[in-house]
Symmetry: C2
Subunit: 501 residues, 2 copies
């Protein structure tokens, strides 16, 4: 490539290094940092955010981008070079709208907010978190105004995580499958006694949980030479290179689900990040294209694979070797049903597949309300409980099981939640397509073989990193845009079988 | 303070944040990073080093420093303001001598070298490390030339860690106490059979080792709300704020010493960092003034406290509760002697007090030889073994127990080792002074009380951070410069008693 293109790449490398440094500091904050370190860490993250924002939005970037664009003129749309210019132009247009002071302030406040949220959640004390959340919502609204939007402020926010989508389109998708979801949940929970999950609620040694979970995700294909697993309050996946992609886990010594399915989930994210083409390493094209597509990967491994009957026909005897006492006399089918029990429960990250998107719909309504000003932060705990009751028929016993449960708002990530539901839809669309190419996949899973699926994902999705938008990628892979029919059909088929309806 | 001074502080805060970010990435590299992450991490560290170096050595710093200096004119020598200007001027004069490209290259190469050294050490393969060490020695010599020196290149290197000292002065101090050291070791090892350390070499559960070690260092006064402990190949202490000071530990499941005394040692460093005055937080004055003074703190807690008879008269019954089987029928006096067995052993970090400074003298000779060009990297493994034999009368069985044992050279830290020996001398000088002020300290230690000593250190040493140079501080505290008489007298008194001579 030409000289200017190389200069642009080298300039962006430095920016990317600063972004990665920030990511490492954030990971450390959630995994290792002692409480006393919070103030200094907020300052450090703010400085890094300021410097990286200044570097990226500088005149130098604009100039190099313009010059490099001329050099790559005529190169194929999906080439590394043309894709980098295209994606960086979009990032640049978005980032330059945000003033540096706003970015630094946003980073500092949300970094400080983390410990406040942890404390509030642990002490079930929303009032302690409330002033912080008010500042954050104000900052988020400012972000939306800076970024601009066609229809409503929330468009600007959701577009940061799922480029190209609108609030109206999300609402349409949600409204489009909500009735069948509610109906399915109703049918299933009318026969709640047909499935017991008692087997999952026993004493399970945390070290053994970890060992079994790691065994499974390594077999999926999570490369631990380029990966790492730690403990945190809220499980997540983060990467500092395609060759250093980490997951975190929350363990419950009396419940198998959080760690087991959390590890499968995060490994799905991690394998996506690890699967970027080697040629993209260090560039702004490495990683996942949108949070929705990212979530499609985590949910595919967690649910379509990890909560399938076939998988447990193979994996259950292994799990029994880890926990012979707890699982004595239990059969694989009973276990399979237990992990697929549908419940009107309170915690999103531990929700079953059937109710999961309803949890998201509650958050979507609250967030659009907060951002439009129709809901005040002072009222959001009550609004949460009211809406939760209308969707689920039950009221959270306390705010730790309600409005305080998720880390996202403390991090300023409003607009993020809808991508979880979109990811669920995409996971089934992509998987169905993989099945068309390789009908043997379910049989392979039932034999503990996962490489056909992983290689299909590598080939069709992972390798491209951020080259294509979510919609471009979905059309390339499946021939159509995101839709909810496949997902609902999958849920209905699975849960009517599990509950014998 | 005036406007310019505040601008300087704010500018330096950003620099300090970048330095801390680099420290966090380095800590993570040694504690958590998967092997695959090495290349990206080297790149990230290099970018941070380049940016922080550019920021610190910029015209802006020079201008603000000059303006701020006028504003603080007339303030007391030991005020925060006058001290900051004084120390930053010295840092600035030193740093501006190093070209940015050299700093970035140095950082990148040493970051890459870490994994190479880990691999070479694990596989006992010096040849694998050699090309890397050659590049590093070249870079170190370049650094010395850039920095300048009066007498010899090594002066420039050692001065980075112990400002104001020279190679000649170090040699004089070393030569001054070497004969009495050699004589003491000779006397003691002639009666080697009087002390057995068999009790230390048994199976000791690592989790329990960790629990006991943390119990002890917390009692010393290491504040875990502002601290954290992890595992690494080479134990170290690092800080990202006075309120986030971490130690790492290496465990041996069949030997009590490495983790136990390692934790005491690193906690001494950590308490020094945590003890900086609150008013210095975030400024360039926070932390320790020199590596020698730093080491005086780690060695005081590890040895003068942690290897004292009084301490174990109190602590041994607690240790017995952790390890009732291993320590059944052992008495405190036997244990005290075991941890003070003098041996001609190979590994510096696990050496007893009597032989420790000899380990340093070997390294001092090799480093001055490497930097002057008298010793080639190709010969350094052999040179190590030859010298070791002449000092200790034994030859390391392999390079993992010889030239590959320490992390320092892979990090480019030539000139660093002598500060360990200087720290030993200072530890006794400071402790003797504390005893003059508080003769009750030994009795308190024997009752498990450590706050009189810690508060004395806080008051006389820690709070000042980097305000005074090592020599200024030592004169303020003890009324004299560094000397070896106190140290040798301490060693002779202790080991003649332990060995009944």
């Amino acid at each position: 490539m030409g000289d200017k293109y190389e200069q642009l790449v080298s300039h962006l490398d430095e920016f990317q290094d600063l972004e990665y440094a920030g990511a490492i500091l954030s990971w450390d904050q959630q995994v290792n940092m002692p409480p006393g370190g919070a103030m200094a860490r907020a300052r450090q993250l703010s400085t890094l955010a300021r410097l990286s924002h200044e570097m990226f939005t500088s005149d130098k970037t604009a100039r190099l981008l313009e010059d490099a664009e001329r050099e790559v003129d005529g190169m194929p749309y999906d080439s590394d070079e043309a894709s980098l210019i295209r994606v960086v132009k979009e990032d640049f247009a978005e980032r330059t709208k945000l003033p540096t002071d706003h970015v630094a302030e946003f980073t500092r406040v949300t970094a400080e907010a983390h410990e406040v949220w942890v404390h509030a959640r642990a002490n079930n004390d929303f009032a302690y978190f409330r002033p912080m959340l008010e500042r954050i919502v104000d900052l988020v609204i400012q972000s939306a105004e800076f970024l601009g939007y066609a229809d409503q402020p929330y468009d600007a926010l959701i577009n940061r995580y799922e480029r190209g989508i609108t609030t109206a389109r999300v609402k349409e998708i949600f409204d489009g499958h909500k009735p069948r979801l509610v109906s399915l949940i109703s049918d299933v929970t009318a026969h709640a006694d047909r499935v017991s999950d008692a087997v999952l609620h026993q004493g399970y040694d945390v070290d053994k949980q970890r060992a079994f979970g790691l065994d499974m995700v390594k077999r999926f294909g999570y490369d631990m030479m380029r990966g790492q697993q730690s403990v945190s309050v809220h499980p997540f996946c983060t990467s500092f290179s395609r060759d250093d992609v980490r997951i975190t886990t929350r363990f419950d010594s009396n419940w198998l689900n959080p760690a087991l399915f959390g590890m499968m989930h995060e490994s799905g994210h991690a394998m996506y990040e690890q699967g970027s083409s080697q040629s993209l390493e260090g560039t702004l094209l490495v990683g996942g294209t949108s949070l929705g597509v990212h979530e499609s990967q985590s949910r595919m491994w967690e649910n379509i694979v990890g909560r399938s009957r076939g998988f447990w026909m193979w994996a259950f005897p292994i799990l029994q070797q880890y926990f012979p006492t707890q699982l004595e006399g239990v059969d694989a089918e009973t276990f399979y049903k237990a992990i697929n029990k549908v419940e009107r429960s309170f915690i999103r990250v531990e929700a079953d597949e059937a109710t999961y998107n309803l949890h998201i719909m509650v958050r979507f309504e609250l967030e659009t309300g907060l951002v439009s000003g129709k809901i005040k932060v002072a009222d959001v705990a009550r609004e949460w409980n009211d809406r939760f009751e209308s969707y689920f028929g039950v009221v959270p016993p306390d705010d730790a099981h309600g409005v305080l449960q998720d880390v996202h708002w403390s991090s300023g990530l409003l607009g993020y939640f809808p991508t979880y539901a979109l990811g669920n839809l995409l996971s089934v669309q992509y998987y169905n397509r993989a099945l068309q190419d390789h009908p043997s996949i379910p049989d392979e899973i039932a034999a503990g073989k996962f490489d056909t699926l992983l290689h299909w994902l590598n080939e069709n999705i992972h390798q491209y990193g951020r080259k294509f938008t979510s919609d471009e990628l979905t059309r390339r892979v499946t021939g159509e845009s995101i839709q909810s029919d496949d997902y609902i059909a999958y849920l209905e088929g699975k849960f009517k079988d599990v509950y014998g309806l």
